[in-house]
Symmetry: C2
Subunit: 332 residues, 2 copies
């Protein structure tokens, strides 16, 4: 990396640099990681979109998660932020805080995971920093994207009566974390694995985000759970929202989990880690949804509408209001 | 921040967000920190310059350093990277990893330090992330700057015979750290304090960096010590360098420290934390130096020249080569 510390003789920092350097090979803006900074020539007429998310071992991922998955999730949660703005990813900067004696194959796996997702999403490493920490492995990634000038999706444009739409299925990430922690033991192991995979490897909805520019009135990625994140759209648009529980799209695995324990409903609503997009559309755009779904290759489901007020309320299809057992919106 | 985690009931994250939010108030690209990412409209004809440095309590700063100073140093070391590229700073993204029970006044001091330097350097907070860590306080900052397209200063352009020039005085940062650790007790306390101040508050040489575009053939900021950093210019330009020890500009405090202990010479050469610029100039540009010094308000001193080969060698003025006692280029 551009400013890696010198080794204390054990060669580990040199190893990290050697493993990370190829990640910048196809990104001219990285300057081969030889200089103090990356130099990016923005596309004329495009805005730059910059997102920065941090992760800590033991807090945001588990100590024994596969290093490939940790690397890919770190990149993907940031790409998901770009997707929520309708941006096309360009590259990323990476700060890594390494504890002593991290095994060589962990570092190799981490770099391999980044390489895999770079290829998948067409991004490259631009630069960053490599430092030592006496604490747990910590990571900070800054993702850089581009969007046509003035067309970035925001949270603040929803209007009363707008439809609330979500992509894919909801709740898999949070249920996957529960499965990882052994809290879904009654569930078929294949289904548990499906949920765990969704927790480990979110799918940033970049193609959908790009399709939504000039269409959606507001957009967000669901990282904190649909209630909290639709709540953010409400806050910024100064409105409320009504959601119908029975409309929330669930995967087969999630439906089986809920069939065994109905209280997992609150996990679906407040658990987070979905990285699907939630967005609002004027009611007149409803017929455009099918084409958006076809073009993005994703299920798109209307789950409610924007209302006056400032609360997110959840109702059953019979009109009774649903009250949550948890305080809600808590990270695990 | 844009993606702060929810509180575990103690309100500390809400406090952090409340303290950081005003830092984005004057930066339209930050979108008030309400969205998933910042949206920056680059100036037509300008390249974006992106630098990312990380710091950890107990590694890169001392646990009892003033929070204002920690914040300002974090910002300044990144601005120094922009200076080394000849870029004008625009803003920054900030990821903070907070340990439990950090005192409220520490967080307030940290935000106040950022505000002070935002005002001084004309930058604003663009976005970032706030997370919890069971480890030490850790920080990662991504600085964003702009430079006329194609004019970013690089490390790879030096030619054989080019003059090697440094700004300001060298060694103060590393000697300041020694003073902080009580290793310069024989030195007058006022002088110790001067050195410590230079360690805590580096001065990013932004005005000089901008003046050097289209003039310097290579440039770097001195963060790892002049030998290591001029070594980076040598590596990237595939050349060697000869430096004359007696030409290296020293502050009065550094000269007094060396008068008491000549072995501190190696600290000056290899200690780092100066954040002055080292750059190379074609010999024909020598007469331009005086005007560059006047315009930047900085002393600019020729300390050597680029040579064939691939080593950085240090000589006395009588031509004898100087050998270092330390292995050199080690961070403290």
């Amino acid at each position: 990396m551009t400013d890696a510390e010198t080794d204390n003789g054990n060669g580990e920092f040199a190893l990290i640099d050697r493993l990370l350097k190829p990640l910048a090979a196809k990104t001219p803006a990285a300057l081969g990681l030889t200089d103090d900074a990356a130099v990016l020539s923005p596309t004329p007429g495009r805005d730059l979109v910059l997102a920065k998310d941090a992760m800590v071992a033991g807090v945001h991922f588990l100590e024994d998660d596969a290093p490939e998955d940790v690397a890919r999730k770190l990149l993907r949660v940031n790409l998901s932020d770009l997707a929520a703005m309708g941006a096309n990813p360009v590259g990323y900067l990476l700060a890594t805080f390494w504890p002593e004696k991290l095994p060589r194959d962990w570092i190799e796996g981490f770099a391999a995971g980044l390489q895999k997702d770079q290829d998948e999403f067409g991004v490259g490493l631009l630069g960053g920093d490599t430092v030592r920490t006496p604490g747990p492995l910590s990571l900070s990634l800054t993702a850089v994207g581009e969007v046509t000038a003035g067309q970035a999706l925001r949270r603040n444009g929803a209007a009363e009566g707008d439809l609330i739409v979500v992509s894919g299925t909801i709740g898999n990430g949070a249920l996957g974390l529960l499965a990882l922690k052994g809290a879904l033991v009654g569930l078929d192991e294949d289904l548990q694995k499906k949920l765990i995979d969704r927790y480990h490897l979110p799918q940033p909805r970049l193609a959908l985000g790009k399709l939504l520019t000039e269409k959606a009135t507001a957009c967000i990625d669901i990282s904190d759970g649909p209630l909290a994140d639709i709540g953010h759209i409400c806050d910024e648009s100064r409105l409320g929202a009504e959601i119908e529980w029975e409309r929330i799209p669930l995967s087969y695995a999630a439906r089986q989990a809920l069939a065994q324990n109905a209280r997992l409903r609150d996990v679906v609503l407040t658990g987070g880690d979905d990285y699907e997009l939630a967005f609002t559309l004027p009611p007149a755009m409803e017929e455009a949804l099918e084409q958006l779904a076809t073009e993005s290759g994703l299920a798109l489901t209307i789950i409610g509408k924007m209302t006056a007020g400032n609360d997110v309320r959840v109702f059953h299809e019979d009109g009774t209001e649903l009250t949550l057992d948890t305080r809600g919106w808590q990270h695990f």
